[in-house]
């Protein structure tokens, strides 16, 4: 969505637009009252369409993690259904090899819109907690120091929250493959690269392929 009052210049252009719009409504209403009403309705629809769909998107604020004590590398992992995937575990192992790594796994509590708006998040959080605990156990079994938490249902918000409290050096986002991933469809990975000033690694976990014998 575009903010029409972002700067003085944009507010001035908005004023000029209002003058033109008002003039058209007045001209229309002088011809016929209902023509004036129709012009006003059409203008309102056009403005709403432009602001919501066609306007220049607000650039997000670039977020940088705060500093943390030296001597360790902090890796933030964002994953939900793919949190137990072998491809993700392999990536974490590779990134933590030979260094003192501190891994924080954040699992967003994904919820339906209706349940989100009614604050009915208990089931979503419980499911995310179960997946997180299984995943943490797997990572710890691999000898990696890892902690975890349930995050906001919006993965980008969950990352930002963890950015503040964990101060990671790098970020790993785990998703399903293209075509099956809601996060990819919503541009979570590209959004994270645009919004967060730290290296972002995208790991694709194909759970179906991992279940089949050929996946091993």
């Amino acid at each position: 969505m575009q903010n029409p009052f972002r700067s003085e210049a944009e507010a001035f252009r908005l004023l000029l637009g209002f003058i033109v719009a008002a003039a058209l409504i007045v001209i229309g209403s002088r011809i016929n009252v209902w023509l004036g009403v129709a012009v006003a309705v059409v203008e309102a629809v056009l403005v709403a369409w432009f602001i919501l769909f066609r306007g220049r998107r607000e650039r997000p604020i670039m977020q940088a993690p705060p500093p943390h004590p030296a001597g360790e590398r902090r890796i933030l992992v964002i994953a939900n259904e793919t949190v137990g995937g072998r491809a993700l575990l392999s990536e974490i192992k590779q990134r933590s090899a030979g260094i003192r790594a501190n891994v924080r796994v954040v699992t967003p509590a994904l919820n339906s819109p209706v349940r989100h708006w009614t604050s009915d998040e208990d089931d979503a959080r419980a499911a995310a907690q179960e997946r997180l605990e299984q995943s943490l156990q797997t990572i710890r079994d691999a000898g990696i120091d890892a902690t975890g938490e349930i995050g906001d249902g919006d993965p980008l918000q969950a990352i930002e929250d963890a950015l503040r409290t964990f101060a990671p050096d790098e970020l790993i986002i785990s998703t399903h493959p293209e075509g099956r991933s809601h996060w990819l469809e919503r541009g979570v990975v590209s959004g994270a690269r645009e919004r967060f000033a730290l290296p972002v690694t995208h790991v694709v976990v194909d759970l179906e392929a991992e279940k089949t014998p050929s996946g091993f």
Partner: protein
């Protein structure tokens, strides 16, 4: 889970605080003016008063039209002032701000004089009450805007603004253009339609 340091002030990056602030401001203004417009249209449409305005009231369309030109011109001078300081032209900023303030003051004084000459008062009919309510509410916004413009003008003569630091001019300009936008709506609705 502990912190290694005091975390910095946190705000959601879903939407910046500046945008939240301006949206809240616009939302509150829409509700404020919207309530007055609702009363105005209720009175005009539901009561089926024809012709509008009811006899014997006359709206000062011509004077308000000239006043509209004055206010719109003040937006041009405000824009000139802002563009001037962005280019480092302090004289342009000072001239632009003085002109904007004087034009805004002219608008407000003309409005006050017109109130005295208009021949009806708030207690006469619902038309009169809504007329004064809408134009008066906008007048209050102009008064607030003039106060802001005066502060900017004084600061511009004291050399407080530069091409790098002119946030005060920018914000004041946004408010002034908003006041003009509201007047365009009020003038179109109350005087022309």
């Amino acid at each position: 889970m502990g912190y290694d340091y005091p975390p910095p002030i946190h705000f959601s990056s879903r939407i910046s605080p500046v945008i939240v602030g301006i949206f809240l401001f616009i939302g509150s203004e829409i509700m404020l003016f919207g309530s007055f417009f609702t009363v105005y249209f209720f009175d005009r449409v539901v009561n089926h008063i024809h012709p509008w305005p009811p006899h014997p009231y006359e709206r000062p369309v011509f004077v308000a039209g000239v006043n509209t030109l004055i206010l719109v011109t003040s937006s041009f001078t405000m824009h000139w002032a802002t563009q001037s300081i962005k280019r480092g032209n302090r004289v342009g900023l000072q001239c632009g701000m003085v002109l904007t303030f004087l034009l805004g003051l002219t608008f407000l004084l003309t409005q006050v004089i017109e109130y005295h000459r208009i021949g009806f008062n708030t207690s006469n009919t619902s038309f009169a009450a809504t007329f004064f309510g809408l134009t008066g509410l906008h007048g209050v916004h102009v008064f607030v805007g003039l106060t802001i413009l005066l502060a900017i003008t004084i600061r511009s003569f004291r050399g407080h603004f530069s091409p790098e630091h002119h946030h005060g001019v920018e914000v004041g300009g946004i408010y002034w253009h908003f006041v003009d936008v509201m007047w365009i709506i009020v003038y179109t609705t109350v005087y022309l339609l």
